[in-house]
Structure formats: structure tokens, C-alpha cells
Amino acid sequence: MKKLLLSLTLILFLFSCGEDADPDDDDNTTQDTTSTDDSRRAKLSPDVIKGIIESIPNPIEISFLIKETGLKYDPTILNSIDKISDYNTDYRKALNLGVYSTDLGYANIYGQSQDAINFLQGVKEMADGLNIGKFFDYETIKTLASNSDKLDELIQETTTNLERMNEYLQQEDRSDMTVLILTGAWVEAVYLTTSVAQKQSNDQLNIRIAEQKVTLDQLSLLLGHYETSPKMKKLKAELEELDQAYKNIDVKYEKGESKEVIEDGILTIQQTEVPVINMTQEDLDNIYQKISDIRSQIIS
């Protein structure tokens, strides 16, 4: 009988201790994911890595911005899908999965169905090569891409699929692949923006290019965590060189008072700051040169 009692108590104990955190501790678990000092860099926990990964903006935003400027679709600035078979290591597959996903978003927004389907194929093959293809619903996305009035669904489906891939990679302790996918996607997005800005100067694009320093810092921080890999270390060094191209650029905001209003039943915050960007054509050229160089190493 004592054994029975002991067993029951043990079961109870196991169930009671299943949760891993003290509620009071969790109330204060907000972590600063922006610190870049070396001591933190060496100690990035999986939660911090996950937090930084989540903070990286979706490149689709940049594609919308490019289209909004009124510039025409330019397929010559996108990666070629003829290179798919050249990407034969996980490192290259992950980076180019990111590149193709950005190109896919760009083609989608401009309603270029055939190009979108081609890039979709690129994303699928890279994902298959990384054993995450099961999270990419190729057929559904292909159908949506062929249907010009389903842009919002297409973007949602594509983004959700990429989200699932990244989630799975992190669960499988392959966050390094997620970081490479994000880096490839971001490099391609900045390359597209600077390429377009080189052809036709536009204030909105220039502001967006200058402000990319924020994301560049986040990616450098992530890559720094994987510096034991020579390839990741080299990639980080490339981004540090790009960072040098940003050193003379000054982004400031003229202070303004935020207003709170209710719009459509939603609490709306209207910020009134005004960005003041100090960036010369030479700075822009330097960024364009360096990002082109990095991108060329990724896609070659």
C-alpha cells in the first residue's frame, strides 16, 4: 500500500512540475534584443535569437514601396532561376531561398505571374534541398500566383509558408539556416531598392535605404552568434564592410508629439516625427557597390 501511495505522489509531483517557469519571473522576461556588445553576443540564448529573427522586417514591405514609387517592373535586376542547380550546399540553398523569396514577392506585387511561378520553383527547390519543402504548399501558391485578383491571399500564403519553415528550422535547432534565409532575403531586398534608386532617385527609397542600418545591425548580431562557421564568419565580415558604407550617413528625427485617435474602432497612434537624412550620392553609390558585391557572391 505504501508503494501505491508513493507512486501516486510521484505522478502528482511530475504533473505539478511540468511547467518550467515561475509566473512572476515570466512577467518580467522581456529581453533586450538590440544590445550588440561582445559579452552578450557570446551568450545569445535560443529565445533571444528567436526574438531577433522575428524582428527582421519582411522584404515584401520594400517591394510595395518600390511599386508605390511608380517605377516599372524590372526583371533584369532579379536572380536567374537557371542557377538553381548551382546552389548545392545547405549554406547556398538557404541564402538563395531568401533571395528567391524576395524576388517572388517583387514579381507577385507587380502581377508578373510567370516570373512569380518561376521564383516559386526556385523557393521550392531550395526548400526541398533543405528538407523543409513540406512546409511550402507549392500548388496552392502557384494557383494563387496565376490569379491576379488574389494578391493579398498570395502574399499571406507565401509569408505563412516561409514562417512555418523558419519555425520548423528553429525547432530542429537549425536556426543558422533561418538566419541565412533572412540574410539572403534582406540582401536581395536592399539590392533591389538600391538598383532602382540608382536608375531613378526617389526620396522615399533613399530614406528606406538609409534606415536599413537598423536591420543590418540585427543581422550582424545574429551572424555573430554563428561565427564558429567560417562561411558565416565571412558573411558577417561582408556585412561589416557594408556597415562601413553607412558610417557617414546620419538619420535623425525632428521630435514630434504623437496623437491618439480612434479610427474604425481601432486605437490609432499618429506619430509626427520628421526624418532628417544626411546621405550623399557617394554614400548611396557605396552602399549599392557593396550590396551588389555581397549579392553577387551569394547568387553566383
Binding site: G51, I155, T160, E211, G256, L267, I269
Partner: protein
């Protein structure tokens, strides 16, 4: 005496088990909440950016924080959904890069929960989005981030 002890232990086990069942926040449930969020923001012209799964682990995790780089000239929306039509018990608080509070969807003195926060961004930077379970026993929800130009 021993029978009584067994009865008490069994009662405790049942209580623990029932608490755990209540605490579960299934992926399919969260997905349904995310869909509800999307239905709120789509008619307002927002494009989808991200889903957030708000699993409060039965109350062990009352605050879930994420971050995102918001860009100048873009309007962002963060919408939440839970078991209540009025989002009761689930609040969004937005902080800027310096951790200054920008807005909260929960108006404490009126006990009102707005279903979403919209930010007309004029200052690029990292923003922290904090989801809190407030005065509730339901620790499950979904959130979506969207944007429009």
C-alpha cells in the same frame, strides 16, 4: 486512514489533470484566432506580415513579447483575438526602441480592450509588442501584424 490518503492523493491528481486540460492552447485554436485577426484587418486595407501565437501556458506566461522593425511612412496594425468577442483579458502594449510606452489597447480605468493598435510610423526602429493576459483565466490567443502604405 490509508484509504483516506489515497482518496486525497487521487483528488489532487484529478485536480492537477483538469487544470492542465484547461491550460492547453492548441495550435488549431490559435490558428483560428489568427484568422479572426486577419478578418479584422483585411477590410481596412492592411497586408499580412506575421502571425503570433499567444500561448500563456495556463497562466505561467502572462506576458509574451515580440519585436519588429517598423519603418517610416508605413502604417502598421497589431490585432488580437481570444475567446471573447471584445478581446477581454488580452491587451497589447507597444513600446519604442528606448522602451518608452507608445500605446496600450487596454484602457484600465474604463476596462476597455481595443481589438487592435494602429501605428502611423514616422520613426524607423525596433518596436516591442507586448501581449498581456490581464485578470483572466484564459491564457490563449492569437495576433497578427499587418501593414499598409
Amino acid at each position: 486512514m490509508e484509504r483516506r490518503s489515497i482518496f486525497i492523493v487521487l483528488l489532487l491528481i484529478l485536480n492537477t489533470l483538469s487544470w492542465r486540460v484547461q491550460a492547453q492552447c492548441e495550435a488549431s485554436v490559435i490558428e483560428a484566432y489568427n484568422t479572426q485577426c486577419l478578418e479584422k484587418i483585411k477590410p481596412l486595407g492592411f497586408n499580412f506580415l506575421k502571425n503570433y501565437k499567444l500561448d500563456g501556458q495556463g497562466g505561467n506566461k502572462r506576458v509574451i513579447e515580440v519585436s519588429y522593425v517598423f519603418s517610416t511612412g508605413t502604417t502598421y496594425v497589431i490585432a488580437v483575438a481570444n475567446a471573447h468577442a471584445e478581446n477581454k483579458g488580452l491587451a497589447i502594449t507597444l513600446f519604442d526602441a528606448q522602451r518608452n510606452k507608445v500605446a496600450s489597447s487596454f484602457i484600465e480605468d474604463k476596462k476597455v480592450y481595443y481589438p487592435a493598435i494602429q501605428l502611423e510610423c514616422k520613426k524607423t526602429g525596433i518596436y516591442y509588442i507586448s501581449f498581456s493576459f490581464v485578470d483572466t483565466k484564459e491564457f490563449c490567443g492569437g495576433a497578427v501584424l499587418g501593414f499598409k502604405r
